[in-house]
């Protein structure tokens, strides 16, 4: 099922949680909504589910305008952040709930519901736990029961709110891989919310990066990582270093000298240079470079992180060097970023 969000705005007590968001999701896609808290990602998910109504704008399921459909009519599978399992029901009853409450004409028989439940328990690898209560399960097991329950109603779209947020790192990685397998096996259009970029980049077909109620960038993991389109995405995804620079006649200047990078399309004025700490080349002689003094250096796994003071200590940035590289010990290092981007300075709202 395709899902199309068209110019949606959502206000809570006049405070805008989402401002004019549009998003096209293809059938069978696995999409991550990624952003810091307060970016509106959960609001967007709840709007798609029908748990909230948009203040303005339309949400389409396929070609059909679903904006005024109730959550029951939308037939979505929603997995809540804290699972919201019914604590007085067994695992099997939790999973069968969506089938049990159907109107009698569409309700499967009891035996059929039980069969469906155990089938889904197989799928989420929890066979044998039918008679347990949620309180007797671990966090990861509850998560999987919640997913099985959501899938029992054969939803058109599967929505997951911070699905692994409450789990520890080990279980989280395991479940992540497992969710991908389930998605590939069942082919549900799946949208999940996360604030964990690693999770989003590893799991999703496309990542929707959000900030302050807006979509900053939509793209594959490679696209958002390698070519961030805004300072926010640069700062939020992966590690980045930034330096205040000046643009003059298409050349980038730091303090009083050019650093050998050209950006012909940008107007003269103040700007900020962004690059990844590992995406640099070291230079022996400085014919247009960024030069700095080593202020601190620390070992990070297979590489060495060096903190440089640029321009007499006014700015500090980090770059990454091979462990054995002599420059790590030198007091003065010259380099040039291999992949970088300059954003003209705008007054931050």
């Amino acid at each position: 099922m395709e899902v199309r969000v068209s110019n949606v705005r959502k206000e809570f007590d006049r405070f805008p949680a989402l401002r004019d968001v549009s998003l096209d999701i293809k059938s069978g896609e696995l999409i991550a909504l990624l952003g810091p808290s307060g970016s509106g990602k959960t609001t967007l998910l709840r709007l798609i589910a029908g748990l909230e109504r948009p203040t303005r704008g339309t949400i389409f399921f396929g070609d059909e305008d679903a904006s005024n459909r109730t959550i029951q009519e939308r037939n979505v599978g929603f997995v809540f952040q804290h699972y919201a399992l019914f604590r007085h029901m067994t695992v099997a009853d939790n999973i069968g709930f969506g089938l049990k409450v159907r109107p009698s004409a569409k309700r499967p028989t009891r035996a059929e519901i039980r069969r469906r439940a155990s089938e889904l328990l197989d799928l989420v690898q929890l066979s044998g736990l039918e008679k347990r209560y949620p309180a007797q399960l671990s966090g990861g097991q509850r998560q999987r029961v919640a997913l099985a329950r959501a899938m029992a109603i054969e939803p058109k779209v599967l929505l997951l709110d911070e699905p692994f947020g409450a789990l520890d790192a080990q279980v989280r990685r395991e479940l992540r891989r497992w969710l991908r397998e389930i998605h590939d096996a069942t082919g549900h259009t799946t949208i999940f919310v996360t604030h964990d970029q690693e999770e989003a980049l590893e799991l999703a077909d496309r990542v929707v990066v959000m900030s302050q109620g807006r979509i900053e960038q939509i793209g594959t993991a490679d696209e958002v990582y390698d070519t961030p389109n805004s300072p926010f995405v640069y700062g939020f995804i992966g590690e980045s270093s930034s330096l205040p620079v000046k643009i003059e006649d298409g050349q980038i200047w730091i303090a009083d000298r050019p650093i050998g990078l050209a950006t012909p399309d940008l107007p003269n004025g103040e700007a900020t240079l962004y690059f990844r700490p590992h995406d640099i080349e070291l230079l022996d002689e400085c014919n247009g470079c960024i030069a700095g003094t080593v202020a601190a250096s620390r070992r990070v796994a297979g590489t060495r992180r060096v903190e440089l003071e640029i321009g007499g200590g006014r700015e500090r940035i980090e770059i990454e060097l091979p462990v054995g590289h002599p420059a790590a010990q030198k007091s003065r290092v010259a380099f040039r970023p291999k992949r970088w981007k300059v954003f003209p300075k705008v007054d931050q709202a």
Binding site: V76, F80, A84, H88, F97, A135, Q136, A150, A152
Partner: protein, 294 residues
């Protein structure tokens, strides 16, 4: 991955760490104070009530209970409880639901109102009804014209009891429902359940133990209320006397056995309530913990 390992619900920190554990003598002293206080101020009076009730033998006790006015008082008390407890059950659930599950203006005011009967002396609550429905009140002449009797009759007693007991169910449910939030309801709706199915299959089971405690407390108070009922009842023997009022009348007539006999029945009803609650806790302890916990 599918390890069937059992994770107990909430086992953490049943035992305090060594640093905050009192010395044995301190613990003993604390327990002695607690139990001693209970024994002297609660258990002893209770024992005395029963001791006095049976002081002239079981025959005198039965005779005292079997008296016409006493039976009328017991019936009236039960009638009042049977009417006011369900009313407050409905009101309590509705109020707790409104307060816990959605936002609206005047919420704080509603919470304050619910607490009013706890903060106002019951005698005042009774007086309010006298001022409202009495002969010289605004409503008095109109009521008289239409032949509606509220004061010094069963309706007045029920009204006063409802007023005094209405916080119990709501107070028990509000924190419980606030803690549970709306997640379970949203989950039920997302799975296709309609409003009634959600209430019946999800909301009510989630609050049933809190509801039961609230009802038990409400019932105990409804049967035992004295002050408010005393003001509106008119103390007509055999007609508008509830058990607590009847105890007072008998006592004032120096009929100690009669007074204590009725008192022991009243205390007995309270004890039955307590035993019921304890039995339920023993029987469904694990489920209660699961529903109220995490």
């Amino acid at each position: 991955m599918a390890d069937p390992e059992l994770y107990p619900a909430d086992v953490h920190h049943e035992h305090a760490s060594l640093a905050v554990t009192e010395r044995p003598w301190a613990r003993a002293a604390l327990m002695l104070v607690a139990f001693g206080f209970l024994a002297i101020f609660l258990l002893l009076p209770l024992v005395v009530v029963f001791e006095q009730a049976f002081s002239r033998g079981i025959g005198a006790f039965v005779e005292a209970i079997n008296e016409h006015d006493t039976i009328a008082a017991i019936k009236l008390t039960l009638l009042v409880a049977v009417i006011s407890v369900p009313l407050n059950l409905v009101f309590g659930v509705a109020a707790a639901w409104a307060i816990a599950k959605f936002e609206f203006k005047g919420k704080a005011f509603l919470i304050t109102l619910i607490d009013l009967p706890f903060s106002v002396s019951p005698v005042i609550s009774g007086l309010v009804y006298v001022l409202l429905f009495g002969a010289s009140s605004l409503l008095g002449p109109w009521l008289k014209l239409h032949g509606i009797v509220i004061l010094f009759a069963v309706p007045g007693i029920v009204l006063a009891t409802v007023f005094v007991t209405f916080p119990f169910v709501a107070r028990e449910l509000i924190p419980l429902m606030q803690e549970q939030g709306t997640g379970d309801e949203e989950a039920a709706l997302s799975l296709g359940a309609n409003g009634w199915q959600t209430i019946w299959h999800v909301t009510l089971p989630n609050i049933k133990w809190g509801l039961l405690y609230g009802v038990l407390l409400c019932n105990a108070r409804a049967m035992g209320e004295f002050g408010a009922v005393s003001v509106v009842s008119g103390h007509i023997r055999g007609m508008t006397n509830t058990m607590p009022l009847h105890v007072e009348i008998l006592y004032n007539e120096y009929n100690a056995v009669g007074a204590f006999a009725v008192a022991s029945v009243l205390a007995g009803l309270a004890l039955v309530t307590l035993v019921l609650k304890t039995l339920l806790e023993l029987r469904y302890g694990a489920e209660i913990a699961a529903t109220r916990g995490h």
